[in-house]
């Protein structure tokens, strides 16, 4: 079955809402299920090698940090009874449980967002956003940001090289390096402002106006409309349930 961006987006929203509204045990099950998503559907697989690397890096980082945080919570939050001692230090069950709950919620939020963003090209997200009533300037600035993100590192490299050629103290004492920071950032900002002015003019010269549609709308199937509406309704119901519970208790 083909899963489109709208369905993926609303499913991600449902998972995030679940992280805040459902018991941590359900959250843990959902967390495990997020790892099945790329196996069940190609729509959730990373779109590039860069995305795959980002996913692996974050997974490793999150796993290590979650483990360390559970351990530290168990040691530092002296609630409940001591479960056991680790290198002579007592670990408390209250802190342990708190650590597990927090880590589960955080990991569920992080991984559901990560699965969505790393498997969806930003241009597709932009074209979906275009269907909403968001001003096109926001989508345009997002696309322009991607353009600049592609170019800025090379520009920074060039300025670094130019400063080094002029003998700028890039590899000297801390204070001289701070001074170098300005000699690098100032030309970067200067050239970018000049470029922004010219780009602004160029857009105006092509008749850019607030109503313009930048990208073609991706087609949506009947099943994707039904699924995305179902996920959205479920999310709203969960929030409502949580509010009612909070008011009643």
């Amino acid at each position: 079955m083909t899963i489109d961006t709208r369905t993926k987006g609303t499913l991600t929203l449902l998972l995030c809402v679940s992280a805040f509204t459902l018991p941590w045990t359900v959250g843990a099950l959902l967390l495990l299920s997020t790892f099945l998503l790329p196996l069940l559907s190609s729509a959730f697989r990373p779109i590039s090698d860069r995305s795959r690397r980002a996913f692996r890096r974050f997974s490793l980082y999150a796993a290590v940090l979650a483990g360390v945080l559970i351990l530290l919570n168990s040691i530092l939050l002296r609630e409940g009874t001591a479960l056991f001692t680790f290198l002579g230090i007592p670990l408390f069950d209250g802190g342990f449980l708190f650590g597990v709950k927090t880590a589960t919620r955080l990991l569920l939020l992080s991984f559901s967002l990560l699965h969505f963003f790393l498997s969806t090209p930003i241009r597709i997200i932009a074209s979906e956003l275009q269907q909403t009533r968001i001003p096109p300037q926001i989508i345009l600035s997002l696309l322009l940001a991607l353009h600049f993100i592609d170019r800025l590192p090379a520009r920074i490299e060039r300025i670094f090289a130019a400063q080094e050629a002029r003998g700028a103290p890039i590899r000297s004492s801390f204070f001289r390096r701070v001074k170098s920071f300005f000699t690098i950032l100032t030309p970067l900002i200067l050239t970018s402002i000049s470029e922004s002015i010219d780009r602004g003019i160029a857009l105006e010269l092509r008749g850019f106006h607030s109503g313009v549609r930048l990208l073609d709308a991706p087609p949506s199937t009947r099943s994707s409309v039904i699924l995305s509406r179902a996920f959205l309704t479920l999310s709203l119901l969960l929030i409502l349930w949580r509010i009612i519970r909070w008011v009643l208790l």
Partner: protein, 213 residues
């Protein structure tokens, strides 16, 4: 209300404003390359947001910060998305003090940076505490745990952690933006709506202002 906001966004993001917002979003995400290259231990991930708040306007600054945080999530740091409200506070406060003329005087910039730091700590504390129980998968989590082990509540611990780092971080960011703007020629600044936030008298060009043709 929504239509009014849309119309303000359209006004702010016209001319050079729109591409400049795009550049500043990218700057937020790539300035780390400069600090890392120079081995300066600063993140400065809101330099772009502050630049836009001063030169373009509050709504554009909110868009800059929110988009940068969303892209940070796209590039592998999903937690950033939940801190968009904090970015909005930073953007709004900076635009407000810029309009009051604080970015024309160095000591007001420092004062603004300290106030901004406290405000950022206040704004991020409930998000860190209630959404993440103080743990956001960052190095500062250990400081939060330290404060908690001292007997403070989650909210207090997160707030103290924020107070210990945010004012310094924001004051440095403000200082950098202040120095950058001081060095920019008037002929470039004058193309932005916020030129009067930086230079008091429009008839006082800096020495390097040339004929634009």
């Amino acid at each position: 209300m929504l239509e009014r906001v849309k119309s303000v966004i359209q006004q702010e993001m016209s001319g050079a404003g729109l591409p400049f917002v795009g550049f500043c979003i990218a700057l937020n995400l790539t300035v780390g390359q400069v600090t890392a290259g120079l081995k300066i231990p600063l993140y400065l991930d809101s330099v772009g947001t502050v630049l836009v708040a001063v030169l373009v306007g509050p709504w554009s600054a909110i868009i800059t910060g929110a988009t940068a945080n969303t892209l940070a999530a796209v590039f592998g740091n999903p937690v950033m998305i939940f801190f968009i409200p904090v970015v909005a506070v930073i953007a709004g406060f900076t635009a407000l003090i810029a309009r009051l003329g604080w970015f024309r005087t160095w000591y007001l910039v420092i004062l603004g940076g300290i106030l901004q730091g406290v405000l950022a700590a206040v704004a991020s504390a409930p998000i860190s505490a209630y959404l993440f129980s103080g743990i956001t998968l960052g190095g500062q989590d250990f400081l939060v745990l330290y404060f908690r082990s001292m007997g403070n509540s989650i909210l207090e611990s997160v707030f103290y952690q924020g107070l210990s780092s945010d004012p310094a971080d924001k004051t440095i960011t403000y200082g950098i933006v202040f120095i950058l703007l001081k060095n920019l020629p008037f002929r470039l600044l004058s193309r932005f709506r916020g030129v009067t936030n930086v230079r008091q008298a429009l008839s006082e060009p800096s020495h390097d202002d040339r004929h634009p043709n």
